[in-house]
Symmetry: C2
Subunit: 160 residues, 2 copies
DNA sequence: TGTAGATAGTTCACGCGTAATGTATCTGGC
DNA sequence: GCCAGATACATTACGCGTGAACTATCTACA
């Protein structure tokens, strides 16, 4: 039997330099694999993960919001938002509207067809959540969230 | 006090649909933040995360290896490797050599300057590992790795 | 041999993340 | 009122991940 799953997965010859390195690589690897699965699901609906993320944020908010606020919730830099929103607009998923009070601000609004698309995706998305993590016990799932939240404490101050 | 850190971070109005969704988003978020930190470190050495990854794999192996094998260890699709290796070759970090027995295969080899570069990076990279995860106890770190490995059990069969 | 299929790598087109820079608009102090 | 700096967004250039289609080479089997 393998003493270490990840080491095996990566065909790594030597053991890890530190438990921290091992945990870090485990995070990266898990993220990649899960992202892949979601990417495939979203593509069936002609969306990329980022596009789906934007739509979800807009639905969660329930009302139009400025570009920047969307970007902040995605850890994403501003320039990326422009092109992302361009494509969503072309696809008819969002509408742009310039704010009358502060003309620098552009408000983004979900279209009805996007809302309907999101609704159709809810079931398969939740199914995938269950498929990916449903085999962990409730305790383990909560424990995992707790550890990741604690891990993130070290990157609190986002330097410019 | 906030009942839920992540919910707060994302300025999410409603609670999560399920503990699974929460854990999934925690993975994505943690990964993004950590990737950012590493990306910044690598950029100081004029490398991207992927490029560093390739160099580390080659050093770990200790001898030249074919493109495909490198790609496999990175969860990465083949086409991306070509461009990645092109840039590494231009920068003088690797050499390409066509195999004489099977002329379809191209072997990749680390140059001496790349080995020296990696060595210079070892200390700062390990420091960052400690900075990011050093505040978890040994038990917590191991627990985190164990949970992530268990989580990945659900994506065993990589479908084509 | 000789031809079909597998395999290694490449090329291309597209979407997205990042940094650097530019443009329009707002706000503050004077 | 006027100008400096902040702010919101757009534009450009580059690297990289993905899928689809292509080339060169090897292997198997008739």
């Amino acid at each position: 039997m393998s003493k270490n799953r990840l080491q095996n997965e990566l065909k790594k010859k030597r053991p890890f330099d530190s438990p921290q390195q091992e945990a870090l690589l485990n995070i990266l690897r898990t993220n990649d694999q899960f992202q892949n699965r979601f990417g495939r699901l979203f593509r069936e609906f002609d969306l990329t993960p980022s596009q789906y993320n934007v739509l979800r944020i807009l639905r969660g908010e329930g009302k139009p919001m400025p570009c920047q606020e969307i970007g902040e919730r995605m850890i994403q830099v501003v320039p990326a938002m422009t092109g992302l929103l361009d494509r969503l607009e072309t696809q008819g998923h969002i509408r742009r509207e310039r704010c009358t009070e502060d003309r620098r601000v552009v408000y983004i609004e979900l279209t009805d067809s996007a809302k309907e698309l999101l609704q159709r995706m809810d079931a398969p998305v939740n199914e995938l959540h269950q498929q990916l993590l449903g085999h962990l016990s409730p305790t383990e799932t909560k424990q995992l969230s707790r550890l990741l939240e604690k891990a993130r404490l070290s990157v609190q101050g986002k330097p410019p």
